[in-house]
Amino acid sequence: MSNWLTIIGLIPLVGALILATLNKSNELLAKQIALAISILTAVVTLLMALQFDRGMTDLQFVESYQWISSFGIKYALGVDGIALVLILLSVILVPIVIVAGWNEAVGGRWSVKTFYILVLVLETMMVGVFSATDVFLFYVFFEAMLIPVYFLIGGYGTGARAAAAVKFLLYSLFGGLLMLAAIIALYVISLSQGGATFDTTALSHLELSRTTENFLFLAFFIAFAIKAPLWPMHTWLPDAADSATPGTSVLLLGVLDKVGTFGMIRYCLQLFPDASKTFTPLIITLSVISIIYGAILAIGQKDIKRLIAFTSISHFGFITMGIFAMTTQGHSGATLYMVNHGFSTAALFLVAGWMTSRRGSSTIADFGGLQRVTPVMAWSFFFAGMSSLALPGLSSFVSEFLVLVGTYTRYPLAAIIATFGIVLAALYILIPVQRALHGPTTPGNESLPDLNLREKIAIAPVVAVIIFLGFYPAPALNIINPAAEHTLSVSGFSDPAPQMTGKAGH
């Protein structure tokens, strides 16, 4: 089977079509089909991952067909280690989200079935965006992905959901259009240098003038920085996370925002290595600001969903810093961070979602004493929080450590400041833990039900992955490392030589 990626992308799409033919009133069947389809997708993806050759740095599972020949556009797919782990992250999170939010589509603007159609279409787009190797195809997925998310937030969210959805869409579209202008420029330049192409590898060999390269880099980077949200382009995220259903938030922060950081690695660095070098100081600065700013604002949040959104902004600062440190540890760390952040944010959002739906409020002050009333839920939240603050032994620790080490070898000052982010992380996690879980039981919370079996089943795999990758990250790192090294070597970066000599004695 050579069309692995296409098949993985098609399964959810076919599932969406099957759902579309269902009767609206048959909600249970719609959920069951959606779940079955998403599990099938995950299983097929795991089967593919088993055949991934870790020793090879080239793209694997490559497919390429003419799509729009007059522009040299191809339907071209392929994955390296980085893309593979992100696809795995996506297809594993989707069934978890479906199980966890079994009832979250009820009470939306539209039918339950529509919710799952949107989720499955989104899954197709996620697979596509990480596996596209043709810049045009990537752009198509990048933009088309916005539409299902937009309807998921606006149709099934809470509060000012329409406004949040529009804000999300407009921010993303603006960035996307900038990128489109840059893609057009790349296309025209490729046309004048031996033939129209959108192939990422071919485009990375273009001769670009200094100014052109800088402009094109900025256009791509801004699009990705809006997506990944980096300060100061982050303002859409808290609103979106606040309004979206927990499941949508998991997909939004856990997977979609990773497209931004993934794009930086795949496109910014590989297509514009010189410009990447030029802008590195600026981007490292922005990342450090994001880390500290996100953390400080998270501490000040009264609403639990907004709090998680701001912690993510801080975490995305770490990821971006790791990418632009241009060291192999930094890169491996950043990629692993993307995966870990996906799982720990998923845990946080899911538990926060259950807490919110039980209590009917997402204000932290409304909780209190949950530890006694709902021990399992409280422990899950605690665990998710520990993972988010990168407790050693949990997966985020490994990646955060790698990012800091990778950054320190080149930008010691940035790494040192970023370390304060970890201290702040302890605050922004422990404060809500204390307020929501400990202390006397807040009146009204006495009879909250604990997690039921379905919810336990949903959270269990997330917990398992977090612990497993915390103690034994090798399986993930073995896939990621060759790709990270390869990315850096094509972009012409090398790790700084160690400056310590043996005499220094350590």
Partner: protein, 504 residues
């Protein structure tokens, strides 16, 4: 000595067929009984258009400079334009056939006894069919004309029926008639400009034929005030027709006042014809003196895009909003004309077709949203439409996404190809302005989607008609094409690429 003029009937036949159909239509009006007319007219009109389209397809690979003693130049690009106009015409006729939009007796004064009677007897207005055919004949001739007189005749031939058709609305007739008058007066103005420009070009080159003017331009160079004045005024006439700033002022009023089916036809087909003619003139006649007009036209394109997108934000009426959106799209199309390369020609032709199809669909949806007093065009009253009529609202959202240029719709491919052609020609300012105005435009398209899907209905009186089977065909075909051209545009792009050439 007198030579019989040579007429190549096979090349002229698409136009002749349509004209013949129009004349038959007039005869039907005169001799057939009222009861028979609607069906008879509809079948004649559709038959005529299909026949003409078949003929265009048959002769698509021929090209001729001498089809009508040098007055008509038929080539690949001309064939594509004529084909586009005919396809759009067929789909538009299906909308026009839905008589709910038209006043039964156009001559009756609004509010008069006669009007009331005609409404009661259930008469139908059938003159609109031959009028449409006459307009289409003009549109077919416009982009293949190759001398200024033929061009002018075609311009008038397509305009005069449109002026009339704009005034035929069944409801809010005064508004409709006002818009018709406005369209007529401003159109007459622009025709005068056009003629003025033609006269100067004659003074400059001593000929009215495109070939002759081209030679004069090549021989005498650009150092002539006459040439400059000629180009400027000719352009004014054409820019008026496409609705580019600062000659756009008629567009929102006419789009709003005219019966929606006519608006759909006008917005889609006139654009193809007018841009077709513009492409031919600027590519084949004035291409050599591009330095003379390109800077100004670039400015006009930029202003048109930005103005259309910005003013559209403030609109509260769906037809006016679509009108301003069409102004913005005229700006995008101008960037294709400006590119002045093969890629620009291909891109503009693709864009014209894709945009025309989506426009027809969007206006077709507008005809369906009603209350007891007729169409509801106030955007606020469209709120909650997604709940009451999910299918129609989804279609409309699809057309809007195409206008906004979201991937997997035809609009995205169009925008991509037209901007890449403009960039290829080195016109970066236009590309940046285009991207910027696309971002602005996205805002108001999305606002309508929010209104339909995310806002509770404020007004329960708005309802959505079950589309008649004819309207349904238009809706389905336009929606399918909008999607197909977004997902797999290669066949059409390749077809246009291999066929689209101007001969001189």
């Amino acid at each position: 000595m007198f030579n019989t003029p040579f007429l190549d009937y096979s090349i002229l036949s698409p136009m002749l067929i349509v004209l013949a159909g129009a004349i038959i239509g007039v005869l039907i009006e005169a001799f057939a009984s009222r009861a028979l007319r609607p069906l008879l007219q509809l079948s004649t009109t559709l038959g005529t258009l299909v026949l003409s389209l078949a003929q265009v397809i048959r002769i698509r690979n021929t090209s001729s400079l001498t089809a009508a003693i040098g007055s008509v130049t038929f080539d690949g690009a001309g064939a594509i334009m004529q084909g586009s106009i005919l396809i759009i015409g067929i789909l538009a006729i299906l909308l026009i056939a839905d008589q709910e939009n038209f006043t039964p007796v156009a001559a009756a004064l609004p509010g008069s006894e006669e009007e009331r009677e005609s409404l009661l007897t259930g008469h139908q207005l059938t003159e609109v069919f031959p009028l449409t055919l006459f307009a289409i004949a003009g549109m077919l001739l416009f982009p293949v004309s190759s001398d200024l007189i033929t061009l002018f005749v075609a311009l008038e031939m397509l305009s005069l029926p449109l002026y009339l058709m704009a005034g035929l609305s069944r409801r809010r007739r005064l508004l409709s008639q006002e818009s018709a008058l406005k369209y007529f007066l401003l159109g007459a103005f622009s025709s005068a400009f056009f003629l003025f420009g033609a006269a100067f070009l004659y003074g400059y080159s001593g000929t009215l034929s495109f070939a002759g003017i081209h030679e004069a331009v090549a021989g005498n160079g650009s150092n002539s005030v006459f040439l400059l004045i000629g180009i400027v005024f000719l352009s004014v006439g054409l820019l008026f027709k496409v609705g580019a700033a600062p000659f756009h002022a008629w567009t929102p009023d006419v789009y709003q006042g005219a019966p929606t089916a006519v608006t759909a036809f006008m917005a889609a087909a006139t654009k193809v014809a007018a841009f077709g003619a513009m492409l031919r003139i600027f590519y084949t006649v004035f291409g050599g003196v591009a330095d003379l007009w390109r800077p100004v036209m670039s400015l006009i394109a930029i202003v048109t895009m930005l103005l259309g997108s910005l003013v559209a934000i403030a609109q509260r009426d769906v037809k006016r909003m679509l009108a301003y959106s069409s102004i913005a799209h005229a700006g995008f199309l101008l960037t294709g004309v400006l590119a002045l390369n093969k890629a620009g020609l291909d891109a503009t032709l693709f864009y014209l077709f894709a945009y025309g199809i989506a426009t027809l669909g969007a206006f077709a949806v507008v005809t369906l949203v009603r209350d007891s007093a007729g169409e509801v065009t106030d955007l606020n009253r469209w709120s909650g439409l997604g709940k009451r009529a999910p299918f129609v609202a989804t279609l409309f959202a699809g057309y809007l996404l195409a206008f906004a240029g979201i991937p997997l719709t035809s609009g995205f491919i169009g925008k991509f190809s037209i901007f890449s052609a403009a960039y290829e020609s080195g016109n970066k300012a236009v590309v940046i302005a285009g991207v910027l105005s696309s971002a602005i435009a996205a805002f108001f398209y999305i606002r309508v989607i929010v209104l339909m899907f995310f806002t509770e209905a404020s007004d329960e009186s708005t309802s959505v008609l079950i589309p008649s089977s004819l309207t349904r065909i238009t809706l389905l075909v336009t929606a399918a094409l909008t999607l197909i051209l977004g997902v797999y545009p290669a066949p059409l792009l390749n077809f246009i690429h291999s066929l689209a050439l101007f001969i001189r």
